[in-house]
Amino acid sequence: MKSLKIAGLLALSVLSSVATTTLARAGEVTWWAPNWGEERAKDLAKRFMAANPGITIKMEVTVSNGLPERVLTAMRSGAAPDIIEVQHGWVNGYAQGDLILTLDDVIQDKADFNKAALDYVTWNGKTWGIPYRIETHGVIYNKDHFREAGLDPDKPPKTWDELVAAAKAMTKAGRSGFGITGGGEVGNTIFRSLPFIWMNGGDILNADMTKAVVNSPEAVKAVEFYTGFYKQGLAPKSTLENDGLALRRLFVAGAVSAYQSGQFDLPAILKENPNLKLGAMMIPAPAGKQTAAILGGWSYVIPKSAKNPAEAKKFLQFLNTTEAQGFYTDTFPARISSTKLPRFDDPMLKPFAEMLPFGRPVPVHRNWVKMVQAYFDGIQRILLGDQTAQKAMDQANEEIQALLK
């Protein structure tokens, strides 16, 4: 039965994309832009069209839910738009699948870009996407909860031990000191737990991606540290069903005192609870070691089947000027010169900006999605109490190793 549905869906999406592309005209650039930047995207398109009368920008607004599937189907059907905004981590897969164009002739001032972001979109020595938005997690915390627990909200924890101590002090009367995720979309938990493994000198794969190393002592200790917040009762009981959004809700409701997230959560929190005294800190690291975070964000790509690649490239050069990048991003721009713009001067953003140099790309492997699923299942087994951290990571390691072939 399922096979029918899969094939039917494919057929439908092919039909619909054929229908949209037949409308593409010469000099018209179709741009798939996500909904959160819609207003600013319209503004940029208007400015570009005013300066380039021969080119029309046709915007199509995308939503993040189901976007990877939609992009892939459009590209594979050979009827894709001219410019798509995608997450950095997806770019390599498209490059390896021969679905997008190289953009070495488009990117200006390559030295001005965040190095980790460029690493993401580089494959085979060529640049396949242009990063325009980068972000990492920090830790968002409730200053009043710090004060009530007798802690100084202006001197947040810097080490793992200090973080655990602070979480213990703040956990009382139905309030959890530090929220972690253990449910929802896999990515939520990868973004929050993998940095701890990195800080401690561990990883999921070794450097040349020939061996799974997630059961190394460094990695297991970090996993123990992460899941320990739940095991010791410092994270909410609902951890196994919580994703990032649920944590934010619990934080807004005052049920969680601190949690990892990006700066994009700040306006949303203040909108729901304007009286909350917000603080932000860098993610604490083991004593004497450096912090780490997953670098996330978005890049522009041009699909191979784009109808008007020349015009699309011209528009991309406009979108990637220092000024346009600084204007368009929701979080931080990938261009270093853009971060100097007054918009990024906010003291609340400082810890997040300081995290950026410690941002790392996740490995680029065709089975990565399955690998993080195996790792995530292991985390859930620990949280469920099925296995110890060592046993769970041994099993995950074995499953990930099998995916390396």
Partner: protein, 285 residues
């Protein structure tokens, strides 16, 4: 000449049927024995998809899910139908209300239930702790031994009204004379249920159960919207595994291989079911 004309008239329908059913099925078969480049790889995809232990786990979960759902859907549905067949004031209203779970779109129901079951904000824990039945909230969706039963409960809630309505229709077609004859012989109400109602509606129950089996076997909505198969694959059923393989891991060939095997299993179950139940010689009460 005439037969040709007839063929021309059904041709459009045949083409549509072919495009929407025969071609995708055949293409899934082709996908299952080729790699991404379209080269023939024999049974490689089948071996790859069977190797991880999650495949076996998903199959067991599927059997529990289907079995648990069907048993309670049928029992609850038949009981509700017998109840709704009685004469009482407001019967029409109760009948309509009973249909509501079935009418609600699956995704809406699933999301609502996810919130109701939530450990911190859920109304179920709120009510149970409020009246003192529980000392502290239970993580319905986060405990290994409650999450699949919770999913089954939602599925039962969603579909038992359908069973009830079908069985009710069957009950109403039972001739009044049968009851009268039984009463003359001094039958109690329970005798009427056992010897008249149940045998008379057996064909309906058989057909409905077959539908329920098929729906449970390929249902994704409820589980996917609530747990996505987690925690730690406790609610991962094979259809969700196929969906994950195809659309999250972009392994269309392995997904096709799993679909083909699953299709085979489903066909066997349906075949056995029809042979064992539907083809039994006519009722002789």
């Amino acid at each position: 000449m005439r037969s040709n004309a007839g063929f021309v008239f059904v041709l459009p329908a045949l083409i549509v049927l072919f495009m929407l059913i025969a071609y995708p099925v055949a293409y899934t078969g082709v996908l299952s024995v080729t790699n991404e480049q379209g080269q023939f790889t024999g049974l490689q995809n089948f071996a790859d998809v069977l190797r991880p232990r999650v495949t076996t786990q998903a199959l067991w979960n599927t059997l529990w899910w289907v079995g648990g759902s069907i048993v309670f859907q049928v029992i609850l549905g038949v009981a509700a139908a017998i109840l709704l067949n009685q004469n009482f004031v407001g019967r029409a209203i109760v009948r309509s209300i009973a249909l509501i779970p079935w009418v609600i779109p699956g995704i809406v129901a699933a999301t609502t239930w996810a919130w109701m079951f939530h450990t911190e904000f859920g109304i179920i824990n709120h009510m149970l702790t409020g009246v003192g039945a529980l000392d502290e909230p239970i993580g319905w969706l986060t405990r290994g031994n409650t999450v699949l039963p919770a999913m089954i409960a939602i599925n039962v809630w969603k579909l038992f009204p359908f069973v009830a309505i079908m069985v009710l229709a069957g009950l109403q077609s039972i001739p009044q004379e049968l009851y009268e004859a039984a009463r003359v012989d001094g039958a109690s109400y329970w005798d009427e249920v056992r010897h008249i109602m149940l045998p008379q509606i057996r064909p309906v129950i058989t057909a409905v159960t077959l539908l329920l089996v098929i729906w449970a076997l390929n249902s994704i909505t409820i589980i996917y919207a609530i747990t996505k198969g987690g925690p730690a694959n406790r609610t991962l059923i094979t259809p969700i595994q196929i969906f994950r393989l195809a659309f999250e891991n972009v392994e269309f060939n392995q997904a096709a291989a799993l679909s083909v095997m699953f299709f085979g299993i489903v066909m066997i179950i349906v075949f056995i079911y029809i042979r064992a139940l539907a083809n039994q010689p006519g009722d002789n009460q």
